[in-house]
């Protein structure tokens, strides 16, 4: 079974790009958290803060012809795959120039031109879409792949097994990335999930990687191996990235939960394993200077401010678009 090349290291430029992308996710979502708290956003937001290394480590290997499917916690995947920040925030505001015209909102950000097939409000909804995209890629035969991001909770949907079975049989270029953050809403993973998730995939005799999801280099390594295997036509792989969400399941939970469901100690423990700290250290180890890092941080901060402001000022979504978009207008 193909093993991860433990020696592989991203060159400093790649590492820097990954760090900057992670930072973009972090800062954008902090902004969204503020906007939500201030009552500026119509719907709720599920933040990805703490899990940035997972999406970025994977998507760094992808290009626009590759497809990803994402979850209700989808901003990070969208940005990691190159989605435009302003268009995403505008979407969450419900603006006409939102990436989905204000039709989908936070749980549904998608940019098909970049292969981002969308966040999804249905837990497990991505399995079929990603498997179908992988099947299309296999038929196209141009080396594209599909990556299906899921949470650990979604691995309890039966379509996980169905996807593994058909992807193995048909040798689909599908990589399932399970971001195990220890929680499925307010249920601790071990209370709803029996056994090891990796074993569910091993039953199909496909490569399985279990990596530190807060270490972008570790994720990048495993994803690189899995994705090139998929590109070469050798079929699916499964990657479990062990990580943690530093924020609530949804930002709104402070309003409706009457009890804590996780300990301060647990949160503190994981805060100390912040994926951004990890990556910053790796940059320094690779000889990148603090000035270079600080410059990136400034760039990101500036972009977030600029894009959030631009997003806020757009026109409201257009009611006429609802009927217009419901069906494709050219219909045979």
């Amino acid at each position: 079974m193909s093993l991860v090349n433990e020696q592989a290291v991203p060159d400093p430029t790649t590492l820097m790009q990954m760090y900057e992308r992670m930072l973009l996710i972090r800062k954008s979502e902090e902004k969204l958290g503020e906007l939500f708290a201030a009552g500026e956003l119509p719907g709720g937001v599920h933040l990805y803060i703490g899990q940035e290394a997972s999406g970025v480590g994977v998507c760094t290997h992808l290009n626009d012809s590759d497809a990803i499917t994402s979850t209700h916690r989808g901003h990070g995947h969208y940005l990691a795959k190159g989605g435009e920040l302003r268009a995403m925030i505008a979407e969450i505001y419900g603006k006409a120039d939102g990436v989905c015209g204000g039709m989908g909102g936070s749980m549904h950000v998608a940019d098909v031109s970049k292969g981002i097939l969308g966040a999804n409000g249905i837990v497990g909804g991505g399995f079929g879409i990603a498997a179908g995209a992988a099947w299309a890629a296999r038929l196209d035969n141009e080396g594209a792949v599909a990556v299906c991001f899921i949470g650990d909770g979604a691995a309890n949907q039966g379509t996980f097994m169905e996807a593994l079975n058909i992807a193995t049989l048909w040798k689909l270029p599908l990589v399932i990335v399970c971001e195990n953050n220890g929680w499925s809403e307010y249920s601790a993973t071990e209370t709803v999930t029996a056994g090891e998730l990796g074993d569910r995939a091993r039953a199909f005799k496909i490569p399985v990687y279990d990596v530190d999801g807060n270490d972008v280099v570790a994720v990048w390594r495993a994803a690189g191996t899995a994705i090139s295997r998929a590109r070469s036509g050798d079929g699916p792989s499964f990657i479990e990235t062990r990580t943690y969400r530093l924020r609530g399941h949804t930002e709104a939970e402070v309003h409706f939960l009457s009890e804590d469901y996780r300990t301060e100690a647990e949160i503190a423990k994981w805060s100390k394993r912040d994926p951004l700290d990890f990556a910053r250290q790796q940059l320094r180890d690779a000889g990148v200077t603090d000035d270079t890092i600080a410059a990136a941080e400034d760039r990101v901060a500036e972009q977030v401010t600029r894009d959030a402001e631009a997003a806020a000022t757009g026109d409201a979504a257009d009611p006429g678009d609802v009927a217009r978009h419901m069906f494709h207008q050219e219909n045979c």
Partner: protein, 332 residues
């Protein structure tokens, strides 16, 4: 008499029925912490055997409800949102709705499947469906959509205590008003509509959360000289056809307000029943105020543009009450 909002009234009903009969069990995703608050405190009171968090596996859960009920338990399955019933649809449609007949009446299914539903909250299409028309068509299910806290409580108790499978949809979290709840073992019978306002000129049948805009519209219409009768069917299966017809025979006019999509909606069905059985009493076209055949969009202004409100109801009334208006206006 106590005063309650919808969710606490539902919570009371669950407490009372679980207290009353220890064959009543409740399961669902995060029912222990309870996101909506409707199942709050039950785990502490009734213990981990009878109140149980589940994995995210809607398909097996609906099947398990069927199986456990066939072995003598009264199962309450909380599905969180109406849309997630689609994920568990197979066992509802192919087993729960059919197996009693198919086994020649050998099995009984005291199963209550509950969920929040409906639009108006900017949570986008995958969390906003009003799925009752689908369940109405399946033939073997009771379908309950209360609007007031008292009816919600009384009907949930009737559902749990009854011997037939029931889909119980709560229009919760959408500004439900406080309501008075009769003391004691408050049961509300299936198949008996409730008249929220009496009137002589026009019947408005309003389902679930639509009662509120219907009453608002009735007030406006009264100012214009039209006295509307506002009826909530409470249960869509069984449907109080006689109650609706009685009202239409009095008023001669009917508007049905339904937050389901128009095609094959409850509104369509009620309109059809009246066009058949009370045709001779009808003085004007039967109007439906419904959601058009679209997925509910996210942005608040978009959602509002397709969602029924009091103005839409008044406009429908204007379309079918011109003579009435004239008459009343002269009499001023």
């Amino acid at each position: 008499m106590v005063k309650r909002r919808l969710i606490p009234a539902i919570n009371d009903a669950l407490f009372e029925e679980m207290e009353r009969d220890d064959k009543v069990v409740l399961l669902g995703e995060d029912v222990e912490i309870s996101m909506f608050g409707d199942t709050k405190g039950l785990r502490e009171r009734f213990g981990p055997d009878r109140v149980r968090n589940t994995p995210i596996s809607e398909a097996i859960l609906t099947g398990m409800a069927v199986g456990a009920a066939s072995r003598g338990y009264r199962v309450i399955l909380h599905m969180m949102f109406g849309n997630f019933m689609y994920t568990g649809f197979d066992a509802i449609a192919n087993q729960l709705a059919k197996l009693r007949l198919m086994t020649g009446g050998q099995m009984a299914f005291p199963v209550t499947i509950m969920a929040g539903f409906g639009g108006g909250r900017s949570i986008a299409a995958q969390h906003s469906d009003a799925p009752y028309p689908l369940f109405m068509n399946l033939g073997g299910l009771q379908v309950v959509v209360p609007s007031s806290p008292a009816d919600a409580k009384g009907l949930l108790k009737t559902s749990i205590r009854g011997n037939n499978p029931t889909i119980f949809l709560e229009p919760g979290g959408r500004g439900g008003a406080m309501g008075e709840i009769p003391d004691g073992d408050h049961l509300v019978p299936m198949g008996q509509a409730r008249t929220f306002r009496e009137g002589t000129d026009l019947t408005i049948v309003a389902i679930g959360a639509m009662v509120k805009p219907a009453l608002k519209a009735a007030k406006q219409l009264a100012k214009q000289g039209v006295e509307a009768e506002v009826i909530d069917p409470l249960t869509l299966v069984p449907l109080d056809e006689a109650g609706v017809i009685r009202s239409v025979r009095k008023t001669g006019r009917l508007i049905v307000v339904d937050e389901a999509r128009d095609m094959c909606s409850a509104a369509s069905h009620i309109a059809a029943v009246v066009a058949d059985q009370a045709f001779d009493a009808l003085q004007a076209p039967v109007k439906r105020v419904t959601v058009p055949n679209v997925a509910l969009p996210y942005a608040p202004n978009l959602e509002q543009s397709v969602f029924p409100d009091a103005d839409d109801i008044v406009a429908a009334a204007h379309a079918i009450c011109p003579t009435e208006f004239a008459k009343k206006d002269q009499s001023l």
